[in-house]
Amino acid sequence: MASARLPTLAVFKFASCDGCQLSLLDCEEELLSIAQRLDIVNFPEASRRWEPGPYDIALVEGSITTIEDRQRISVVRKQSRVLVAIGACATAGGIQALRNSANVDAYARSVYPHPEYLSSLASSSPISAHVAVDYELHGCPIDKHQLLAVLLAFVEGRRPPIAQESVCMECKARGHSCVLVQGGEPCLGPITQAGCGALCPAYRRPCYGCFGVKEHARVEALMNHLQAHHGMGDDEVLRSLSTFNAGSELLIRIAERYRRPPPQDSEDS
């Protein structure tokens, strides 16, 4: 048996689809190697083992949508030396943040026979809106190689290499043909954070921004160009901004400019 105690890893889930923590399970071969360097004490998707905190590193998936979750995340934070928010839900509120600009009560009434049993916050928010976050891994889902890089950097005591630059940087380095310049497709690569390895452009598909906005993303500048030169309408712009990272403050602010005013209530008639 190893004499030194291994650092402990715990996985926590909030409002999410489980796809990001599944990326850890997807590591398969590498997972065994990780398990020799980290003691995976809580990972309900893989094991019934559940150890109490404190933890050396916590992977937090999902967004905060209920009062209970808001309390729970502050407990997780207190118990975790390093907290890594993983995925679009944990870093930007996820697809469920679409409700942030909608009427949630109306949704609840149309979906549930007894909406009165529901109790949720007015918005779906990222982990960083509630507690301090040490690192964020973008993506829907996250990239397994980035996850491994963060865990191994943690074990070795160095800063993880998480580039905040555009997808274009990876796309050009990999020598893909540009779907925007030569295909005229509305690719979000120039405003989206790298990390996926320019996966969609590799298959001649425009990036739809599942990795969220890059640092200093010039969303409006790109949209202005796509509208003026690639015939993109307001509805299409709005749709492209309203996906997995719809809860991003930047995207919400810009999306508002393209939203059509709701039809006027005919109170006078």
């Binding site: 990780i34 630059e165 274009c168 043909s177 540009c178 200093h216 030169h229």
Partner: protein
């Protein structure tokens, strides 16, 4: 000067391959022109280019060099986008620089040859980058004069084209004539090039060959519609650091870094450590960086170039002004890639002109 048929051009490729060269040249893939390892040249391809726009097109002739430039540059082979510099295993450093495969670049344009000469200065003068030097040492260069120009080309302004500058390091220079049924005028500029020329054979070019090349080059110069006024440019740009036009640029620039990634002379890189999860071996990797990223100017806890305005200004003033003090010439060879591949069609010739105008 020799005269080659298309068969003799193919014989050159076959000969080099038989001598264990990786022949790197143009290849059509995913509706675009790339530089890759090839065993023959694509036939009858051209392109349509403008700011923020590129389209490959089929030509009605048999031209082998009827295209202009794609997004790819030769620098990807000499200064690869990602490279492992060393590995650490069980606390020991392991050199992972292996003897590189011999390469021959086929179809290097004049502006690209100038760019290679510039990167030679960056990487092989003090300090020497051993990986670059090892790949560059045995590199065989086969250049092609440009028999046509794209609307984004402005090599005449920088003095780098459309004809190969014979002062630059190149082994052979080809000129494609009569694209409907092409033949090639071939000139050797080194002994190595001369040996290849004689081995491939062909006939002596007619006495009028020089005039033929001159005529073609004049025709290409006529096609050059873009220009960059380089008169007093370094002083002018460095004296215009507070010009309001930088703010205008910052409204449009995405800071995505595409211009720097397609630029044949940009040489910035960053390094990262990656641990192999299974072998637990650490690789110290270098990869291309860009002055448009936040990390590029991250120093002692803060970012120097915070705004897009300051990042674009850094790029343009370095490329066209401070480069002159650093390397004795501008860092731009007029290839126009930054214009074509900018997603929002920013054109450095237009922006530079605006910066010339009084605010």
């Amino acid at each position: 000067m020799y005269l080659w048929s298309t068969q003799q051009l193919q014989a050159l490729i076959d000969l080099l391959r038989a001598r264990d060269y990786d022949v790197i040249g143009p290849a059509v893939r995913d509706d675009s022109l790339h530089y890759e390892r090839i065993d023959s040249l694509p036939v009858g391809w051209g392109d349509r280019q403008d700011a923020g726009h590129y389209q490959l097109r089929e030509r009605a002739d048999q031209s082998r060099f009827g295209y202009n430039l794609g997004a790819a540059t030769w620098k990807q082979f000499l200064f690869p986008p990602r490279e492992t510099l060393f590995r650490v295993r069980d606390g020991d450093f392991v050199n992972c620089r292996e003897a590189p495969q011999k390469m021959a670049f086929l179809g290097v344009r004049p502006c690209e040859l100038a760019a290679i000469a510039l990167q030679d200065r960056v990487f092989t003068e003090d300090p020497v980058e051993p990986g670059y030097l090892a790949r560059r040492k045995d590199l065989l260069l086969i250049a092609v004069n440009c028999s046509q120009a794209a609307p984004t080309c402005f090599c005449a302004s920088t003095g780098d084209g459309p004809e190969v500058n014979a002062e630059l390091p190149t082994d052979l220079v080809l000129t494609e004539c009569e694209p409907a049924d092409p033949y090639y005028l071939v000139e050797a500029l080194t002994q190595r090039g001369q040996d290849l020329l004689e081995e491939v054979g062909g006939s002596q070019a007619p006495a009028s060959a020089r005039q033929t090349v001159d005529r073609l080059m004049d025709a290409t110069r006529e096609q050059l519609t873009r220009a960059l006024d380089t008169e007093e440019l370094p002083g002018l740009l460095l004296g215009a650091l507070d010009h309001p036009h930088w703010d205008d640029l910052a409204q449009r620039c995405l800071a995505c870094g595409n211009c720097t990634q397609v630029c044949p002379t940009c040489f910035c890189s960053t390094a990262e450590d990656h641990t192999d999860p299974i072998t637990v071996e650490v690789r110290h990797n270098r990869r291309w960086d860009s002055c448009f990223t936040q990390g590029h100017s991250y120093l002692t806890g803060s970012v120097v170039h915070r705004s897009v305005r300051s990042r674009y200004r850094q790029w343009l003033t370095h490329k066209l002004a401070s480069w002159v003090a650093q390397f004795g010439r501008s860092g731009c060879t007029g290839c126009g890639r930054c214009i074509t591949w900018c997603p929002v069609a920013i054109d450095l010739t237009v922006e530079t002109e605006a910066l010339r105008a009084a605010p």
